[in-house]
Subunit: 297 residues, 2 copies
Amino acid sequence: MTTLDVPSLDPARLDTPTVGDPRLARLSLNQKTVNGWSLRRAVEGCVRHGLPALGVWREPLADVGVRDGAAMIADAGLRVSSLCRGGFFTVPAGREQERAHDDNRRALDEAASLGAPCLVLVPGGLPDGDRDLRSARSRAAEAIERLVPHALEVGVRLAIEPMHPIFAADRGVVSTLRQALDIADPMPPEAVGIVVDTFHVWWEPGVEEQIARAGDRVASYQVCEWITPLPPDALLSRGMMGDGHIDFAHLTRCVVAAGYRGDVEVEIFNADVWAADGDAVIDTVARRYAELVEPHL
Amino acid sequence: MTTLDVPSLDPARLDTPTVGDPRLARLSLNQKTVNGWSLRRAVEGCVRHGLPALGVWREPLADVGVRDGAAMIADAGLRVSSLCRGGFFTVPAGREQERAHDDNRRALDEAASLGAPCLVLVPGGLPDGDRDLRSARSRAAEAIERLVPHALEVGVRLAIEPMHPIFAADRGVVSTLRQALDIADPMPPEAVGIVVDTFHVWWEPGVEEQIARAGDRVASYQVCEWITPLPPDALLSRGMMGDGHIDFAHLTRCVVAAGYRGDVEVEIFNADVWAADGDAVIDTVARRYAELVEPHL
């Protein structure tokens, strides 16, 4: 269960970091954590709570337009830690694949407009009725390689997100950091990196070695929790840090040791979190982050 | 969704293999697939449908007693393909660990009494409040090693079951074939093997190479399906072969190429399957197996 602390009952609230607290210097709010909010509300929420950065999603960005959205974020003095998301290129060769390629080029352009250091790539799942996982994985690798020149041109890194195997069939055929790094290996590090998302990779045998191997390929560090019992909707099964089984101190130290110096995004897909008041969610995020993650940066 | 074919409406039923059909020669019914049935009903079900083997669970075996259960199975002319399950030894050192060790020794004895070639080991999850996954994994490896002498003495293989990472927190900290084989490597193959369960390993990058690497360490081959959307209870999220995303032809050929010549167990944890009539379930199992698995053995 995700605990959304009731502020008036929670003595730890006294320690909720607020505007100006140096512990928030690298905390980024991924828009999905406040899924009901528009881009403007998310920007204002970050400012109100003292978070210096935002992980932007393309759909709410499109609602206001890329130019206006970029201006809104810049005017508020926020950084964009990543743009979510490109990818979904396991579709069969042909028109669909061309459409995916073009869409990913546009996503790179949008990321550049926002000054985002990276575009998060969700590889995509198996096409309907297709059981050939190896071929789908090859198509994903080829599609990434094909985007490299444009990524270099606009100065935005492609960040491959290995996804928990719970999503291998329908969302992300890249399942481990090891596999993501095998894909990235032949491509230039300034063009292709990987995402370390604690929810997706915490269980990976040898995750420590893979994060070390990644080195400056770590393009984004995202934190959220693995909770049990797993909520019924797999897509919304992520929890608030501290409510589950992940050792955030350990993984954070691994990411730091690999040389990562960027923002830390909190990205939580969870029906309870989405139903809660956004300001209360950000309070909890800030407090849990200050307790569990920030001391190890 | 799991499709339990309605026999009277299903033309494919005409091809349901029945008693004496050579296609059933290696098909084993894991008791969990007919979870509501006693051992006696499962034995009778196998005989009625022409399945030559049974994957036995300890709890329904205990209900009749090991000696009587073994006699019942032998009298029916069935083989026992595996005993489920030992393991659960990620508990902290001390009394709990001793208890787990003793229980696993007893489970090996029971498997020997049944003539089962292997004892399936479910490693266990993280103890309550424990976030140190690496240590839990080490404890599992040490506990397996400690059982090797007894396994050799009674002539039953310990079969490490790597489990889908969806279960890493609460059920099985061994998450990949690669990891299971790394654990098994220093131990004698006649004492320690691995389980290839399609549900658990289908997504693993390089699963083909790992099955080949396993060679004669493949102690058990279990088939069931990964379906989407994933049913709400993760523990009951397995599907009937053919209803989901797994390429059974491919994985079966890999297991055969590794040299596996044993029985093929169908083990399905699923609320819909469990709610259905056991005979209808076995019919569907036999038909799907004959269509999707057996031709590739």
